[in-house]
Symmetry: C2
Subunit: 373 residues, 2 copies
Amino acid sequence: MNFQSFNPPRRILMGPGPSDISPEVLAALSRPVVGHLDPLFVSMMDEVKALLQYAFQTKNEFTIALSAPGSAGMEACFVNLVEAGDKVIVCRNGVFGDRMIQNVIRSGGEAIIVDSPWGRAVEVDKVEQALIANPDAKCLAFVHAETSTGAVSDAKVLCALAQQHDCLSIVDAVTSLGGIELKVDDWGIDAIYSGSQKCLSCVPGLSPLSFSEKAVNVIKNRKSTVQSWFLDQSLVMSYWSGAGKRSYHHTAPVNSLYGLHESLVQLQNEGIENRIARHKEQHEMLAKGLAKLGIEFIVPEEERLPQLNAIYIPEGVDDAKVRNYLLNKYNLEIGAGLGDLAGKAWRIGLMGYAARSENVALCLAALEDALNQ
Amino acid sequence: MNFQSFNPPRRILMGPGPSDISPEVLAALSRPVVGHLDPLFVSMMDEVKALLQYAFQTKNEFTIALSAPGSAGMEACFVNLVEAGDKVIVCRNGVFGDRMIQNVIRSGGEAIIVDSPWGRAVEVDKVEQALIANPDAKCLAFVHAETSTGAVSDAKVLCALAQQHDCLSIVDAVTSLGGIELKVDDWGIDAIYSGSQKCLSCVPGLSPLSFSEKAVNVIKNRKSTVQSWFLDQSLVMSYWSGAGKRSYHHTAPVNSLYGLHESLVQLQNEGIENRIARHKEQHEMLAKGLAKLGIEFIVPEEERLPQLNAIYIPEGVDDAKVRNYLLNKYNLEIGAGLGDLAGKAWRIGLMGYAARSENVALCLAALEDALNQ
C-alpha cells in the first residue's frame, strides 16, 4: 500500500450539486483550525446564525447549520416534530418526497401520501383535500424545489393551507435556498432544512436548519424522547444558543463552517434579490440555447426551477456516453436522471457560483459537440 | 448587517480535539470540489477505505468514514446493532460511556451499566460479572480512551471477554485511533467508531467506522428497520461498496474527505508504530515537565493515555483565568474539565500533528508563566 496525495482536476460543476465554489470559499476552508469552544469561533457561529437568518428571511431564534448533510437535516425535522402515531401529510412528486415518507415511518408516524406527477409541482387541490380528510394531521411536508425533477412547488400557498388546517409545515429547501424566492417568516414556514452545496455554493456536508417558535414549542413539549441523540434539537439548541451560553454537544465541523460563513458573506454582499435574479437570467440564456439544440424540458415553463434544469435525453443518444464525454473532454459535470427519470433525463444545475455566463456558454457548446459525436 | 470574512488566528491546539493539523492537510481542504459521483472521487473513496483499514488494522470490508462527527458514529453503532429489548452491557468511567447509555436507551435497548471510577480504566472483573449475570446480553460497549478523563481501558481483554460470552463488542476509539495500539482484527472488535479530529489530525466532522462480518450479518438480519434513515448502515454500505457499484445515499462531504485522505496518507507514510511511539515519547517529555511544576495527573501511570493528559488544577488557581491567559498571550489552547471533572481538571492533548517537541516545550513554559501570574 502506497497511496499519494489526491489532486483533483478543476471540474465545472453543473450537476444537481455540489455546485461550483468560489475561490474565496475554497480558500476559507484551509484557514487555521481553532477549537470549537474558542471564543472567536463561537462569535463566528453567531454570525453564521445571523447570516442564515438573512438567507432564510427569518427572525427565527432557532436557525443553525446542522453538522451533517441535507439528508440529516431532513431527518432532524421529522424525528423532532413527529412522535409515535402522529399523522403527517407528505407530498410526493420526486425522489425527495419519497425520502420524507421513509422518515415519517421511521419516526413512528403515519404518512398520508399525496402523489403528484414527477416533473410537476405539488397539486395544491389534492393537498387541500388531504388536509380536509385528515383534520387530525399534525404536519404537512413537501419539497419546495425537487432536485430529482427540477420542479418548483408553491410553498407560499401550501404553507398557508397548512396554517388554515392547524398543521406544522415542514419544507425541503435543499435546492431552493439562495436560488429562488423563499420567505420563511412571510410564508409561515415552521421547519425548514437545506444543504450547503447547492445555491449557497459551499462544500457539501452541512445542513442549514430553521424552526419557528411554534415548532420549537412542539419539540419542548414532546411526550417522548427524540429517538436520535445526535439529531435531538433540544440538545442542539443549547449548543447554538449564542456566545457565553454555549454548552457542549459535539465537536463542530470547524473548517466547513469557515466555508459556510464565507459563502454566506458572499450572499450578503451580492444581496438575495440579486442572486435570485442572476439565477433566472442564466437559466433563460441556457433555455434559449437548449431550444436551439432541439432539447426539451421535462417541467412546464411555469413550474421550472431556474437553478436545476431537467431535460429529456434526445432519442437514440447514449446517456452515460455523453456525460463521460463532457467530463473527460471539458471537465464539465452535468447530472444523470434519478429515480423514475434515470436514463431518461439529464439535470443541468446553475447553482450559486455556477450560475455564470461562461458556464452556460461552455455547457451549450460542449453539449452540441457531444451530440454531434 | 455587514459581516466580513472570518480570519482566525493560528492557534496551537493542545486540548481534547480538534488537534493541530498539518499544512498539507489544510491545503488539501481547498482543492477544487468534484462531484460526489465523479469516477475520480469514487476512486479516492476506495483509497480512504484502504487507508482506514490500515489505521484500524483490519480487513473488514465495511470500513468507511461516516459523513458526520464522532457522536453520530457512536449512534450509528447502537442504532444499527441494537433492536427493541436488546440488552447491552455498557461500561461507564466518564462522559462518553454515559453517552453510550443514552444511545442504548434511545435505540430501544436495555442498558446494563457497569460503573468504574472516573479517571480509571474500566474494571475488567466487574464487566466479567455483568457478562455472567446477563447471559442474554447482545453487546458489550466501552470507551477505549476516555476523552473526558484521559484513562485507557484494556480493549484487548474486554473484547476477548465479549467473545467468550457471545457478545458483540462496540468500541469507542474516538481518541485512541492513531494514538495508541489498536488492533481491530487481532482483538476481535465487532463495531468501532472514531473521529477525524483527534490523533488522525484532520478537521472535525467525519467519523471513521468499521464493522466485522459478524456485525454486518447482525445488521442484515435485523427484525426491525433501523430507526434512522441517515445512519442506516445497510443503505450506507451500498454507498461505500466500491467503484462501479456505488449507489446514491447522500452527498458526501467532498472536501472534508480530501482532508481525511491526506491525513491518512501522512499516517501511512509515518507508519502506525512510529506514530504511536511519537505520542508516547512526547507524553513522557510533558509528564516530566509537569512533575517539575508540581502538577499531578488524575490517572495512575499505567492507565494513562499519552495523547490526552488530564491533570489536577493546582489549589487556589483560577481555571478559566489560566486557560484564557494561555489562549490570549500564547495562542495556546488546553482543554477544560468535562462532566464530573469540570473546574477540577485541565486536559492537555498531544494528538497527531500536535504531538511535537516544540508544542510540549511551549506548553510547559506557558503554563509555568501562567501559574506565576
